[in-house]
Symmetry: C2
Subunit: 297 residues, 2 copies
């Protein structure tokens, strides 16, 4: 194999790994620049700094992934709400700045690729990677390939699961508005007046706290609704649940498996598993994108 | 190009075409045998008869598609409710019976392939073929390939669109139970006591009949719900609406386009178009499967 650096530009932190095939040799992190007129230049600086730190010999290929809407084929970051950019030709900017073989892509799709190669989705052709954190998105690994649809695929956080709470997108009923880690925290706090994170709510669920159980059950039913749809239309063999909420482990996966079972009849029933690569899924996927890229591109 | 026969085994009629590339040279039809212990032998006879009629010189490859759950990779018809079979190794039986290069697949996925190649979905990489008839299914053409998931993909008729009417599958809320051509007919008749087909209801909608408008609107909202999901998660560029209900044309497509527009915010908005190949989509797709198959298989 060959050395590759993978970089995942997150909303607050940018993470990087140096890998040799499926082995992670080193990792590094730096703060992501704040949104603003210089954010793109700032991100290029941070990426170049992390790459230089992990690979001072300049031996490695480099893959970089970012959040938002990303057009993989054109190498353009179409839009990011968190980072505040539009139509940034990152593939070209990165190749120019780093002066070596680079690849560019989307954080969640790259994470799905990595979980499919090395993590919870390995060994199957059709899987869904579902990171649940501040928001909810999905990477669809279908027939071994990640479906991108010009960057618009996988917005499962904004499907209607039949409730009347508003979502930041302007609609009501969105999965994300009831089942994201931030929605769980917000809804528990609104109900009880007690500030809490989703992890706190998960702990309270394990102790049968009635308010926590109610908020958690709403999230589980929303997720089961969305996964039943996915089972009918896409029929993945495995759903790899990731993001911050996956730390809840069986407190989440056990009732979700049961709620999904109740919603399916003849459909192929997916196995629900926890993601295995944690916060490194995105940068390991970025490294995979670079490893797959022909040196001639 | 090369001569190919495509055969579509339907619930009541079996249709066949002789094609040369994108040109249909001849077509033929025969009744499909009734379900029963001899249905598989009967279907093989009907297929052999139609192929012999269209291609007496035995020059052509042959593709055959059937309804139900079909495992394309293994060449097995896993299950069909209408035809009453389970685990029939059709690929092997057809090759044996016909003694030439054959291909075997699924009727709706083959129809999607044909609409993508020659019909309403041509020229785009990501499209959804949505035949609406007795039931509702979908073929997902993603990145130019049809997603099969071991035969379980595309069951969009059994996604929950939020109503309380029962479905034959055992659940409530299924798209098919409110928006299929048979559901529209059944619901109009239940409401008015007047027997009617979906085409009659469509004509009454054009004349502003209040009962017909109500039933039709329920169907349109159910379809818009399902297509909004699809736009968020799969983001097709085009939705090709086929099956019997597509004969309603703009009576269906215009309100459906509007209802879908109201449900989307940042998502890629698909174009809704009528299928162009009519009842021949399945057999033209069957011919495509055979044309793509290597003579060495």
């Amino acid at each position: 194999m060959e050395l590759v650096v993978g970089v995942d530009v997150g909303g607050t932190a940018t993470k990087a790994v140096l890998v040799d095939g499926d082995r992670v040799l080193a990792q590094a992190t730096a703060p992501t620049p704040r949104p603003g007129p210089d954010v793109v230049a700032g991100v290029l600086d941070v990426v170049a700094g992390l790459v230089g730190e992990l690979d001072p010999e300049r031996a490695a290929r480099v893959g970089v992934v970012v959040p938002g809407i990303v057009d993989d084929a054109r190498g353009v970051a179409v839009w990011s709400e968190n980072l505040g950019w539009r139509d940034v030709p990152f593939a070209a900017l990165l190749a120019d700045r780093l002066g070596r073989v680079t690849a560019f892509g989307h954080d969640v799709r790259a994470g799905g690729l990595a979980e499919s190669a090395f993590g919870g989705g390995r060994g199957v052709r059709d899987s869904l990677f579902l990171p649940i954190g501040t928001g909810i998105a999905a990477a669809l690994v279908l027939g071994g390939r990640v479906h991108d649809a010009g960057g618009y695929a996988g917005e499962i956080g904004h499907v209607d699961v039949g409730h009347d709470e508003p979502c930041a997108c302007g609609r009501t009923g969105c999965l994300e508005a009831i089942a994201s880690a931030s929605a769980i925290a917000r809804r528990y706090t609104a109900r009880t007046g007690t500030p809490a994170e989703a992890a706190d709510v998960a702990r309270l669920v394990a102790r049968d706290d009635a308010d926590a159980v109610r908020v958690w059950d709403d999230a589980v039913q929303g997720l089961a609704h969305a996964l039943a749809w996915t089972a009918s239309v896409l029929a993945p063999e495995v759903v790899v649940v990731g993001g911050g909420l996956s730390a809840a482990g069986d407190v989440l996966l056990r009732p979700l498996t049961e709620a999904l079972r109740e919603r399916l009849t003849f459909q192929r029933r997916p196995r629900l598993v926890a993601a295995e690569l944690g916060g490194l899924a995105g940068c390991r996927g970025a490294a995979l994108l670079a490893a797959k890229r022909s040196a001639l591109c």
